[in-house]
Point group: C2
Chain length 279, copies 2
């Protein structure tokens, strides 16, 4: 593939996630790259990924990417932190287009803003068990102290819109205890849903602590990569957006708008059979 | 099929659920039927079912049952309330063995114990949206008043062992508010995980309220059906138990013991490809 040549056809950026969460990443992308076309796939029939095994996460990720590859994508964004933790290398080996995940950009930003290198990482069980963020941070600053906490109740709290409920504060307090005890100066939000708990997390950690949203860092990185590799859409283009899910398009449409911060017009249903997506 | 003849080979009872929750039903079955062989399948690669669409739940249920049918089962128990709500009829039409779900036995027991017919039903979103419990209760007592509440945060709270945490009490209080306001005399636990929150639910509802566990009611029903249809194992038999999952056998083994109330020796991994399970 000749990276310096513009693609002949208007190509899209493929984004996948286990469900609606990746829409927070898409929101960050659309803000920075309004001229780009985006194809989003939410694997809602098999979500969540955060409690599943590495092998299963890799298999699902390869199936998601195979579907997006049929949509003439010039790049694939793994918006899901759990999928980024396990499947980035297998995807990069399998696909003929650049694949960008959220781990490296998030780690980079955390190292950049952390004053004393005391960094807390919040994520799903699978993300935390993979150690992906910890490794990515230590590669950039071998003297950093990384404190990881799995927060499996955050996703359901966000999806049930319980972020304002007193129970959410108690659970946030519980999960943040070890990070407060370790006096971290930076907290990395290592899951697409966690930005919706950002205010509570700031209140609990105190204003002096930096909060890094790996989705925003990822979007920033993609803007740079597109330019470097000469893959940008024309400046005067108006980007299109299409949405696919493996279960319940109406539910995705209803809940998704909260994550995307704008209306979603149309969502198409696909099915995964024999490892290949069909419509 | 000749229901009055004993099967020629020692046959098993197949039980499936989306994950570990159905082990609370298996626990009730084993207590009553120690001489029976059980084959349990937890579809952990695709759980939870409670947030998914009816179509997807039916497809997954048929795939689970097809796997169990290859294991020489004389009966299939749908331990998952969500799967029972949507897939019981499709399963009964597709399979050549009796299929028993948890809805009808749970509804029967609730109608039996309810003094004034004011019955609260707790379940997943999908179970509540199906209206399956409500219909089953009204078929037995058309003058009953049924109040349904979806409790999507209960499963994660139980799976994360947060049942003793103050946040669990706040969430239980929130979900039970409408049932208390309606002065229900009976609460039906319409999800395999909810028996693990039973103490909290009793404390909140008060001692005068009957609590019905649909899993226990289902096990009672199966004991009767086996006898009626002459499908019982020999009285002096010692039952065997085998466990299959579609993801992460070790995790299932570790968490499962809490639900089953006894040790799980061995769990085998299967994969669903092209709608058919393979090992």
């Amino acid at each position: 593939m000749n990276m310096s040549a513009k693609p002949l056809l208007p190509a899209s950026i493929g984004v996948f996630d286990s469900g609606v969460g990746g829409l927070t990443v898409l929101h960050q992308l659309q803000k920075r790259l309004p001229q780009e076309n985006f194809v989003y796939l939410g694997d809602t029939a098999r979500l969540p990924y955060g409690d599943k095994s590495g092998d299963t996460i890799i298999r699902y990720s390869l199936e998601n990417a195979a579907f997006l590859m049929e949509k003439n994508v010039k790049m694939i964004v793994v918006a899901c932190n759990t999928a980024s933790s396990y499947a980035l290398e297998p995807l990069q080996q399998a696909l003929g287009v650049p694949v960008i995940g959220v781990i490296e950009p998030g780690a980079e930003q955390a190292v950049r803003v952390s004053e004393h290198g005391r960094i807390g990482v919040l994520g799903t069980k699978a993300t935390i068990n993979s150690g992906a963020y910890q490794k990515a941070i230590l590669r950039r600053n071998s003297r950093a102290n990384v404190f990881q906490v799995a927060c499996p109740l955050f996703v359901p709290l966000v999806e049930e819109r319980y972020t304002e409920h007193p129970a959410a504060r108690l659970i946030v307090q519980e999960y943040l205890k070890p990070l407060k005890a370790q006096h971290v100066d930076t907290v990395l939000l290592g899951c697409t849903h966690y930005p919706l708990l950002k205010d509570l997390i700031i209140e609990e950690m105190g204003l002096g602590v930096e909060i890094v949203d790996s989705g925003a860092s990822c979007a920033e990185k993609i803007k740079i990569v597109l330019k470097e590799w000469n893959l940008q859409a024309a400046n005067d283009a108006i980007g299109s957006h299409s949405y696919f899910v493996s279960d319940d398009p109406l539910k995705f449409q209803a809940i998704g708008q909260q994550f995307l911060g704008m209306a979603i017009d149309k969502v198409e249903l696909i099915s995964f059979f024999s490892g290949k997506a069909t419509r």
